[in-house]
């Protein structure tokens, strides 16, 4: 990289230089097509998958029900108090990014980032409407005439439609998709839905159509963070300078004496969606999408030179290969202590989450003693404690539970009486998928040990009445008496 000292007339800002990536085919381009179809497919189709959960619950397979604070994911139903699952997933996402970045570099940027995927889709549309690189450059340079206006309008319309579909699909994740779609057309959907669609459409249109690589270079913090997580074993894309230089044009019928393998055909630059020349070395802009590799390999095949002048490699390979060592298989860099540690942590969290998921009880039960006042002295000397009991019935049907109180040893105490506010007897019926609040009274007989001890541990039991495998659970709490 050549550099110069600052001059007074140096520009303070500059316009974006349009980039016209050329069409290319090859291994990595195919991989990107496949990944793009899969990811866009998942994104657009997921809200439409149905999942039968019975009459009380929505039958959308993936639904973030913000109004009722539930998250449905196929057979799973996450309640707000189970938000630790989401926290766990976020931790896994974080560790996963460490893992992928330290092993494979900016693979996320190159293949999976929505900005990359949608930009790729928008470039596909652009190419379909305006032709390949040279046609697009010609169109860009020519004055506004009928052809340019027609093609631009067609392109923008298609982009807008994609943007609309993108924003539209987003809102379907938050409410029943078929109902919302109908409401969107009849104008009955909530203003929030319309606003969200409008914002998502506008950002998709602007970021995919016009901002493109500017988002990665100037707006996104992720490339900068990733740079700090990479080391010399991290897989990245590099130009094998020791093989390519000195570069020079190859003329038909001439033997290129003293020249490297690079014939300076600019194929790698022409296909780059970021508009950089990979031969300049590691660059912040490079999203490691692999298109330059495809482009260069195609040229190497044509001129009868081995592939891999541009390729995926680790930074330390460059020095090693320059010294004449054999080309190292890139997968040897992936397995190293650092990535193994990340992988262990990542899979540890994953296993813990899955275990936690299967250990979830279909019943949540807790009892909070009323601390104001600690106890109530009744007229006959009985000491009453008041508790708030919460039962969350995660069965799909109404369940009746019997409530009882015992000592921590599980034995009944004859001086202790349990009653439920507003209920006859000791049973409550909790409606399906509901959180049920019930005030609970425990009364200790006058002058009993419980009544005269300031604090006694007790257990409150909840037991399903009937059912094939009756659920039983208990929580420990305390009984406060009046010390004498």
């Amino acid at each position: 990289m050549s550099s110069t000292e600052p001059t007074d007339d140096a520009p303070l800002y500059e316009a974006r230089e349009p980039i016209f990536p050329k069409r290319i085919s090859g291994k990595f381009r195919s991989l990107k097509w496949i990944l793009m179809s899969v990811m866009l497919g998942i994104y657009y189709i997921t809200p439409w998958i149905r999942w039968n959960r019975g009459p009380a619950l929505p039958d959308q397979a993936v639904l973030l029900d913000l109004a009722n604070r539930r998250f449905f994911f196929f057979g799973l139903e996450i309640w707000p108090h189970e938000f630790y699952f989401v926290a766990g997933l976020l931790i896994m996402a974080g560790l996963g990014l460490f893992l992928f970045t330290s092993a494979l570099g900016r693979v996320w940027c190159g293949y999976a980032c929505p900005q990359t995927v949608w930009t790729d889709l928008f470039i596909l549309v652009e190419r379909w409407v305006e032709g390949d690189r040279n046609n697009r450059i010609r169109l860009h340079r020519q004055p506004w005439n009928a052809e340019k206006i027609r093609k631009s309008l067609t392109k923008w319309t298609l982009w807008l439609l994609i943007g609309l579909a993108t924003g539209g699909a987003w809102v379907f994740y938050f409410t029943d998709a078929p109902t919302l779609l109908a409401n969107l057309f009849t104008g009955d959907a909530s203003p929030i839905a319309y606003t969200t669609i409008a914002v998502a459409t506008a950002t998709t249109f602007a970021f995919g159509g016009f901002a493109r690589e500017q988002m990665c270079i100037y707006a996104c913090p992720w490339p900068r963070i990733q740079a700090a997580m990479m080391d010399e074993d991290t897989i990245t894309i590099a130009y094998r300078e020791w093989r390519g230089e000195p570069r020079g044009k190859l003329h038909k019928g001439q033997v290129a004496e003293g020249q490297g393998d690079c014939i300076d055909c600019m194929a790698c630059f022409n296909v780059c969606p970021m508009g950089i020349d990979i031969r300049n070395g590691q660059q912040l802009e490079c999203i490691t999408c692999g298109l330059c590799i495809d482009a260069c390999n195609e040229i190497m095949d044509k001129i009868g030179k081995p592939r891999g002048l541009v390729g995926y490699m680790a930074l330390k390979d460059e020095a090693s290969e320059r010294a004449g060592n054999k080309v190292v298989n890139i997968w040897k860099h992936v397995l190293r202590p650092r990535t193994l540690v990340y992988f262990t942590l990542w899979s540890g969290f994953g296993i813990a989450l899955v275990v936690a998921l299967f250990l979830r009880s279909p019943l949540d039960f807790n009892v909070t003693p009323n601390r104001d006042p600690l106890y109530v002295m009744q007229g006959d000397g009985t000491i009453r404690n008041i508790y708030t009991m919460r039962i969350r019935n995660k069965h799909g049907e109404d369940v009746t539970y019997r409530i009882s109180a015992t000592t921590p040893d599980g034995e009944a105490d004859p001086t202790l009486t349990l009653s439920l506010e507003g209920q006859e007897g000791d049973t409550v019926t909790v409606p399906a998928d509901q959180l049920y609040n019930q005030r609970l009274y425990l009364e200790a007989a006058p002058r009993s040990d419980l009544a005269t001890t300031s604090r006694t541990d007790i257990d409150i039991w909840v037991e399903q009445v009937g059912g094939e495998v009756p659920v039983k659970d208990s929580v420990g709490t305390v009984f406060n008496g009046k010390e004498q």
């Binding site: 990289m1 050549s2 550099s3 110069t4 000292e5 600052p6 001059t7 140096a10 520009p11 303070l12 800002y13 500059e14 316009a15 974006r16 016209f20 450059i137 901002a211 500017q214 270079i217 100037y218 600019m266 630059f269 022409n270 950089i276 020349d277 031969r279 300049n280 009323n370 601390r371 104001d372 006042p373 109530v376 002295m377 009744q378 007229g379 006959d380 000397g381 009453r384 008041i386 506010e421 507003g422 005030r439 009274y441 006058p446």
Partner: protein
Amino acid sequence: MSKKPTKKEIQTTGHSWDGIEELNTPLPRWWLWTFYACIVWGVAYSIAMPAWPIFASGATPGLLGSSTRADVDKEIAKFAEMNKAIEEKLVATELTEISSDPELVTYVNNAGGAVFRTWCAQCHGSGAGGNKGFPSLIDSDWLHGGTIDQIYLDVQHGIRDPLDPDTNAAAQMPAHLDDELLEPAQIDEVVQYVRQISGQDADAELATAGAEVFAEWCVSCHGEDAKGMQEMGAPNLTDAIWLYGGDVDTLTTTIRHGRAGVMPSWSYGTTEGTSRLSEVQIRAVSAYVHSLGGGE
């Protein structure tokens, strides 16, 4: 385009550390326009919305006339409008019928609870457990009665509130020593008697003498059986609950100097024609108190 040199001339700031040079990269032009747009937005916003402080009079109102205070007023009005139907229902419903209407139960739990925590918790405690001199509202003992109708009356007109002519419980515990009704020795005797009938340690000899004093002086309010009279506001002296305390010192003080607890009247305003609490609030808080576990 393909002829364009790909190795751009890149300026540096001239700073170099360990061979790492600091680049002097120009800003993207769209960034500059975004910056200008933000300035324009900022100026326009400060003209359109309340922004610039004015000494002693708040801030410039803004052309759009936006006001968060007005927004809050609107929200309050909106919720008041939403609550109108249930409030009318609450006023129209017999007090004793409230607990059998789930919709009203939810309303009095929230609205009545809010009134209680705002106006009642200072004396009765946020959990209604009471304090010395201020009765617990969740136990089995009621000085004036624990039916919802009586609770409603007590909240409405207060207890011994001098401002409200309709206030409850005109009677009060006399100051037997100060008013020279009883000799100190007689008071000591009756204290022992009261301790005896409430199942506490007592001097049997004094208590026997005290029974005569009690029969002469106390039964008119507390009753022959000493179980109190709710219409007089006279407490039950045989149970385990003491408003001021059942120990010898406190009982002596109570009998010597008298007691006259006061609860404000909540339907009676501090100025003519006003009311501290509305009818809806009084009903809601009465139903709330009645539902706490002590209600009869």
